[in-house]
Amino acid sequence: MKLKLPNPGLDDRIPSHEDLERMETEEAGDRPKWDNKAQYLLTCVGFCVGLGNVWRFPYLCQSHGGGAFMIPFLILLVLEGIPLLHLEFAIGQRLRKGSVGVWRAINPYLTGVGIASLLVSFLVGMYYNTIMAWIMWYLFNSFQDPLPWSQCPLNANSTGLVAECARSTTVDYFWYRETLNTSAAIDDAGGLQWWMVLALFAAWTLLYVCCIRGIETSGKAVYITSTLPYLVLTIFLIRGLTLKGSTQGIKYLFTPDVDELMNPQTWLDAGAQVFYSFSVAFGGLISFSSYNSVHNNCEQDAVLISIINGCTSVYSATVIYSIIGFRATQKFDECQGDNILQLINAFDYPENSITIDNYDQVLTNLNQTNPDIIQGLPLKTCDMETLLSQGVEGTGLAFIVFTEAIIKMPVSPLWAVLFFIMLFCLGLSTMFGSIEGVVVPLQDLRVLPQTWPKEVFTGLTCLISFALGLIFTLRSGNYWLALFDNFAGSIPLLVIGFCEMFAVIYIYGIDRFNKDIEFMVGHKPNIFWQATWRVISPLIMIFILIFYFVTQVTKDLTYLVWDEEAANFPVLEARPYPSWIYVIIFILAGIPSLVIPIFALFKFFQRKCCKDKSYKDHPVDTISAKIEMNGKAKF
């Protein structure tokens, strides 16, 4: 399919191959550069590998048939993830601009794609850094023994534990009450929680200090933030495997259920996970790639980073589930222990007469002989399956399930510190990419004076994001964050990703693109890339987009609240959103997506009505401009 849309003036907007060679040999000093290849790879790996690998993938894996989930995941990784990644790397390296610059160079009508990337990076960065603030809060609180989430506080007159804590668990209470101080509904805003504001401030200033001069500073930070998580995961794996019950967790994770492959939801979730996990369409990867030398082998990089991302997902799933297996076994033992104790007390049996092994047998005997007494006892049903499948995704995994597992391990504060440092590093390296995806387009758009140093741009971004992010420090902040997570970071990314692919293949031109890659890397991309770029990946993305859109629009929008007065109290209750939320949802999901056509229209009318083309786009080539005067001036 050799569809190519007309694109006049493309050659004037982009540097030619000769220009690129020239720029390569003479160091054009004002564009930043990577110190070495390792820095570039670590930054990209850090951007791609994020919190989603740790707390979204294991949940999807376990809930969609365990080992069988690997099949759709790997297939879609190869057909969707790697081509997209290669595309972004190649186009950034070729056009040597950030996201707005690249799309504007391809065609000024496409600048909207860059602006959409900017908006999405900004919105996602805003809520992602709030999660970082929560992680920092837990990290700050891990430097004490006993850990604050291992005990319930006493109530006002010291007669017992606080009711909310006694009815749920200590970790729930610490998360919902002492950390978030959550209200019972999204419209009940509550006030700003000062400790959360401090934590958010800490998160943004720490991010600022790492990103203050772009990749000059963040490039140094990634040596730690990208490698430390792997070290900690290994430590946790070793620790986890020595704990009782860990192998059960791993077995539960990987036990394949092939029937799940028939379920279209599985494929949809796998595709969405691959797409979001690669952090494409944020604009950050294009930026990072543009700092490379022209002849860097972007094809190899794309494959390498995809493999690393996939392997990290599987590895962290193993680690997480070994710890979850341990927690489930502990809770099961405690539950059984309580039941056995009740029986022993009721019937005055000697110690150790009933054990976990003969419990069922004894219970059936007693049920036949003394059924009335058995009925009167509050025996609980202890089920390993339910314990293993308890609420294990997202913030629930990190702040409730995992923290509960940690307090059951010996030397808890150490494990808590390690775990939260790992999460922090994972998130911070992703934030570097987000900031890059906001600051560089902001500079390219020239809305602010060019003479301002980069520190000011980064500082402004961090300051405005912090100010707007204060909404997440309200009592209803958790609900706002879930809203942002569901809508700001989902549909717009799919739209942008699809537009990117379409723009490069059909507006920039696949022929030109092939020649570019041949120039940069040395060989033309093979049939696999051609097939995936032209047909397979765009189709997959359209599919996912349509299905996603349809499922979101048709289902009733509800959110989960923590409400003491709810019927099933410790279990979160689903409530419908108030009607004005739909406006917010439209702003979050609709505006970035609609910027693309709106900006195109705007540019169209601008061209039509004011025919004064911007002369600065077409510099006049003269001989005098090329003469070197005194060896110093060169225009």
């Binding site: 920092m136 809060w137 990290l139 700050f140 609180n141 430097f143 004490q144 005990q151 506080p153 006493l154 010291s158 007669t159 017992g160 534990l161 400790w195 401090l198 934590a199 800490a202 200033t205 720490l206 600022y208 200090v209 203050i212 001069r213 500073t217 222990g337 056995i340 104790l341 022993i344 007390n345 005055d348 049996y349 000697p350 110690e351 150790n352 009933i354 520190e455």
Partner: protein, 245 residues
């Protein structure tokens, strides 16, 4: 006249054992009237604390109490220790009444280490009422726990709830300390990163100022320094200094 009355036992303690490392003592209150005989009627009370139960004998079977730190079998010696500990508690609470081991009467022991007990006043057979026994136990709870290497959760007196120890809360929350350290480091980092290029620029400007001075000096080459270093182009040389007329 001495009346033999059949008193209901006022205070009974039921000592029971939890699996795997619990020892549970249960106090059972009999709600009915706690009448104290006045001095006039002082019948000899033969109490038989098992009278209220199904008439079982005291069984003292050795059974194991296992705890996290030490596993020891329950035996008559352990029972003796219990009685001694409780006698201590009563003495401590009543400030000197000389309770002895013989004033603590356990009964209705079951296979599970769990039994009732009653306390009588020293040298008499008057029962001590439940409230006093409870207060005495509450006061010396730690000592009793310590004697058996157990805790409030593993040694239970039914009806006496452990007083909850408030969780330790230090003066400054520890998280603020860590927060302060991190913010301090971050501020130092920001200031250093912002100031460093300014300092560098100033140093470079000083160096440039020196370089420019030396440039200007050699800008105009005088004959002494090197005006004649250039290539001599004979085309433009003046063979004759004065034009020929």
């Amino acid at each position: 006249m001495i009346a033999y009355a059949d008193f209901k036992i006022e205070s009974l303690a039921y000592f029971s054992k939890k699996m795997p490392n619990h020892v549970r003592w249960v106090l059972q209150q009999i709600k009915s009237r706690i009448e104290r005989l006045n001095a006039l009627f002082r019948p000899v009370m033969h109490y038989n604390c098992s009278a209220h139960h199904e008439g079982t004998n005291m069984t003292e079977e050795a059974s194991n109490i296992s705890s996290d730190t030490a596993a020891y079998p329950w035996s008559k010696n352990e029972m003796f220790l219990f009685r001694a500990a409780l006698a201590f508690a009563m003495r401590d609470y009543t400030n000197g009444e000389e309770f002895g081991v013989s004033d603590i009467h356990p009964c209705d022991e079951t296979e599970r280490v769990s039994f009732w007990f009653v306390v009588t006043r020293p040298n008499t057979t008057d029962l001590v009422d439940k409230g006093t026994v409870e207060m005495a136990i509450k006061k010396s709870r730690n000592r009793i726990n310590g004697a058996f290497l157990l805790t409030d959760q593993t040694l239970e007196f039914d009806g006496i709830y452990p007083t909850l120890a408030a969780p330790v809360s230090p003066a400054t929350p520890p998280w603020l300390i860590v927060f302060g350290v991190v913010m301090g480091a971050v501020s130092v980092g920001i200031i250093a990163l912002l100031v460093y290029p300014l300092v560098q620029r100033k140093l470079k400007k000083n160096k440039d100022a020196d370089d420019e001075d030396s440039d200007e000096e050699t800008g105009v080459k005088t004959a002494e320094i090197g005006a004649n270093d250039g290539i001599y182009n004979s085309m433009f040389s003046d063979d004759e200094r004065f034009t020929q007329m």
